[in-house]
C-alpha cells in the first residue's frame, strides 16, 4: 500500500520538476529542479529494491554531474534571466514531435503485460549480486569504461586549456 503512494508521489515530483527544468528562465533554477528529478528517480530505484544503484545515482548525478553544471553556469556567468525567443513554427514543431512520440510510446505501453513490479521479491539490486555480475560477466566492458573515462578526462583538460596555439608554439 505504502509503495503505491510512494510511486505516485515520486512520479509526480519527477514529472513536475522535469517540466520546471524546461520552463524556468534562469539556468540555475533548471539545475536545481533537475537535481530534484534525480532524487525522485533515485527514490524509484529504492522502491524497486535497487539500493546500490540508487546510492550511485545520487552520488554520480547529484554529487558530480550537477555540481559540474552549476560550476560552468556560475563561471560563465549565465545566471541572468535570458529572453530567448523561438519562432512560433519551431515551438509548434517541438510540441507536436514530442507529443506524437509520447502518443506512440503510450500506445506501445498499453500492450504491455500486467506484471506487478512492487510485489516481486528479488535480491538483484544488492551490492553482492551486482558485484558478482560486474566483475565476472562484464569485466571487459568495465575495463573499457575506464579507458573511456581516461579519454574523456584528457579531452576535457585539453579542450579547456586557455590558448592552444600559444602553448603549442611555446
Amino acid at each position: 500500500m505504502l509503495t503505491e503512494y510512494a510511486f505516485w508521489l515520486l512520479s509526480f515530483i519527477a514529472v513536475f520538476s522535469g517540466m520546471a527544468v524546461i520552463i524556468s528562465k534562469n539556468p540555475v533554477y533548471s539545475v536545481l529542479y533537475l537535481i530534484m528529478t534525480f532524487f525522485s528517480i533515485a527514490g524509484h530505484y529504492f522502491l524497486m529494491n535497487a539500493q546500490f544503484l540508487a546510492a550511485v545515482h545520487i552520488i554520480v548525478y547529484a554529487g558530480a554531474i550537477m555540481v559540474l553544471f552549476l560550476y560552468v553556469i556560475m563561471m560563465l556567468n549565465l545566471n541572468n534571466i535570458e529572453t530567448e525567443k523561438r519562432h512560433n513554427i519551431i515551438k509548434l514543431l517541438a510540441v507536436s514531435a514530442a507529443g506524437l512520440l509520447l502518443l506512440v510510446l503510450s500506445g506501445a505501453v498499453q500492450k504491455a503485460d500486467e506484471i506487478a513490479v512492487s510485489g516481486q521479491v528479488g535480491a538483484a539490486g544488492m551490492v553482492e549480486n551486482l558485484g558478482i555480475a560486474l566483475y565476472r560477466n562484464y569485466l571487459l566492458p568495465f575495463e573499457l569504461a575506464s579507458v573511456l573515462f581516461l579519454a574523456a578526462m584528457v579531452g576535457a583538460v585539453y579542450l579547456s586549456k586557455k590558448n592552444l596555439n600559444e602553448t603549442q608554439s611555446a
Binding site: M48, V56, F69, E82, E84, L93, G122
Partner: protein, 105 residues
C-alpha cells in the same frame, strides 16, 4: 478495499516515456546549450528507469549493469560537452545555439 491499483511494469514504462518526451521537447524548445545538455541527461535517466524496472521484473542483474554503463557514458559526455561549451563561450561569448552557426556550409 484497494484504493490504488498495483504498480505494474506499465506504470514505470509510462513514467519513463513521459520523462523521455519531456527531455526531447526541452531539447527542441530551448536555445541555451546548457539546458539542452540537461535535457539529454533527463532522457538518459528516463531510459535508466525503464531498464531498472525490467531488471526488477525479471529478477536479473543485467539491466542494472547496463544502467551503470549508461551512467559512465553520461559522466564522460558531460565532462567533454561542458569543456566544449566553455571553449565556445570563450571564443563566441554566447551559448545560444542559434548564434553558434559558423559550421553551416
Amino acid at each position: 478495499m484497494q484504493v490504488l491499483p498495483n504498480i505494474t511494469i506499465e506504470h514505470y514504462l509510462s513514467l519513463s516515456a513521459v520523462l523521455f518526451c519531456l527531455g526531447l521537447f526541452g531539447m527542441m524548445f530551448r536555445k541555451n546549450a546548457i539546458i539542452i545538455f540537461m535535457c539529454v541527461e533527463l532522457m538518459l535517466n528516463a531510459v535508466n528507469l525503464a531498464l531498472v524496472a525490467f531488471s526488477k521484473i525479471h529478477g536479473d542483474t543485467d539491466g542494472q549493469i547496463f544502467v551503470f554503463f549508461i551512467m559512465v557514458v553520461a559522466a564522460a559526455e558531460v565532462a567533454v560537452g561542458l569543456a566544449i561549451l566553455m571553449m565556445l563561450y570563450r571564443n563566441m561569448h554566447t551559448t545560444d545555439t542559434d548564434e553558434l552557426n559558423s559550421l553551416k556550409g
